[in-house]
Amino acid sequence: MRTDSAAPPFRRLLIANRGEIAIRVIRACRDLGISPIAVHSDADVDALHVHAADRSERIGPPSAGESYLSIPAVIDAARRSGAEAIHPGYGFLSENAAFARAVEQAGLVFVGPPPSALESLGNKLAARRSAAAAGVPIVPGTTVALEDDTAEAEAIGFPVMLKAAAGGGGRGMRRVDRAGDLAEALAAARREAASAFGDGTIYVEKLVAPARHVEVQLLGDRHGGLVVLGERDCSVQRRNQKLVEESPSPAVDAAIREALFDGARRVAGTVDFHNAATVEFLLDDAGSHFFLEMNTRLQVEHGVTELVTGLDLVAWQIRVAAGEALPAEVLAAPRVGHAIEVRLYAEDPFDAFRPTAGRVTAWRMPEGPGIRVDAGISAETDLPPEYDPLLAKVMVHAVDRATAIHRLRRALDETVIGGVQTDAAFLRWLVDDEAFAGGHYDTSLIAERWGSGPEPTAQERGLAAFAASAARQAAPPPSAPVVSSSTSPWGDLARRESLR
């Protein structure tokens, strides 16, 4: 993909992550002529990203705290492997200022914004204060930590959202509708935040509803070059975590877009910024925007922006980290067509999107025109319960939104996963949902329109009945007890029950 004949920005780069994002960064390394080095915990010895890299360093036991979140283990792995730079991916250590500093102190390059930016934007409370000072509207609420008394929350007016100052990914977040529920929700949010981030500080915001979640992608170099690469609408969420993202946002017109882009630049201007980051906003039904937070890292959904801009964001992260300036064609990159991403998770959409675990047996991903799949697993993979249940991201790109939705329907019809329940059934339903198809949806879509999903149709039940009976008839007569040859959890359950 490089058009010049310059030497690669680095000789070796270590990817301090796992799953699909590790593989994504490995691919960018290959395109740039860099030797990619993976890391793995004991749960990931045989993971796909380990086999995709040139080599992989063991960094500890399965527990993330002792492996992918261990700063000394990751730095040590980089030293051992002779890596010159570290890409943190998303999650894990990606927004950890202490990690970014440790990388630099070890004489390595951190592929991400400067540690000072991670520090000032990592605390969501501090970021709220800076954004407000820069003239960017914030969601009404506190700009200091919430104490145990309910006065502050009551002054804002219920319903409110509790959020973790150190937060991200929806953890430590709670909606509270009544003053009487505040104490319990606050305790739960603090516990979850302390466990996820090591910091139980909680603040409170007024609940904006209905709301759309729209974010703006930024890319900057070390020489003052900064480009806004469009917005992404991430309003399809469960547990305040994104499931579907699209660009452009059907809720954003030219005037709103201009305001969002201006707000994003202002927030970035409050820190010393380079590399990739995303500024997140809530959009209310009047089209007013409120700053939520700035994520100083690559987002899960960056591929949506890559499809509409044609840019390789990960490659540019690495190149600007090595000191390259963004050229004119990046600074003025046009945005073409419409892109949608859906996330395949090992979660049961018929049971409140609870994580499922087990072994993925069958695995068939869609292919063909306008389709991109970033997957972290392949067939016959055990899903370790220690980590995020994201399996793959299916992305489509087309000339306009309607065509993109058609393409997404085909892509999901081609997608087949066996062994674990995934959210694929929800995603396939979404494509045909009127609100989604019409672009008139907000963050309440899953709660309001999906709930716990429809019952299987009579046709689906009939087809399932026919398929199972046909499969049984086609099978050779069992020579052993019939339940023992199953690899499914149902078989396992039956086996366990029979041993009781």
């Binding site: 979850e192 929800f426 299987p456 009939g462 086609a474």
Partner: protein
């Protein structure tokens, strides 16, 4: 087909007519149904009586029993009582982070019993019915796998 009693999700079901079943990759359970107006990809897992068919992304349990298997199963369930204590089991693997009850506690249906952290999420395990806790077999800090007994409710 009439030799079998088929239940979908526990309910009696009639197999759909006019479709042909073919394996795409039997080793991993990939199959498809070919009908007059199109095809449906699916995953078929299992053996003997117990199957799971994934169709449209949804896993649907299907039992396919011969007459003889059905009679045997009914005889077995008749000898097993329905009342009595129940074991509350983990529905997902993870780390027990908090236990809210002790033996001797009386709980209402839906009362929080313990918290399991899995995939970075905290999941409350709640009482499936009202009753008295007679035994707690796990403690905070312990890792549990799916199906592990957590406590007993009488």
């Amino acid at each position: 087909m009439t030799d079998y009693e088929i239940r979908v999700d526990g309910e009696p079901a009639d197999p759909a007519d006019g479709w042909r079943f073919e394996w795409t990759d039997e080793r991993v359970g990939l199959a498809r149904l070919v009908g007059p107006d199109g095809t449906r990809p699916l995953v078929v897992e299992g053996a003997g009586r117990d199957w799971v068919v994934t169709i449209g992304g949804r896993r649907i349990p299907v039992s396919v029993r011969t007459w003889r298997e059905r009679v045997l199963a009914e005889a077995e369930s008749a000898t097993r009582g329905h009342a009595g204590p129940i074991d509350v089991k983990a529905t997902l693997p993870g780390l027990v982070v908090a236990v809210a009850v002790s033996p001797g506690d009386d709980v209402e249906e839906g009362a929080p019993l313990l918290t399991i952290e899995a995939m970075k999420m905290q999941n409350e395990v709640r009482a499936p019915r009202a009753g008295r806790i007679t035994e707690v077999v796990v403690a905070a800090g312990q890792t549990v796998s799916t199906g592990a007994a957590l406590l007993r409710l009488a």
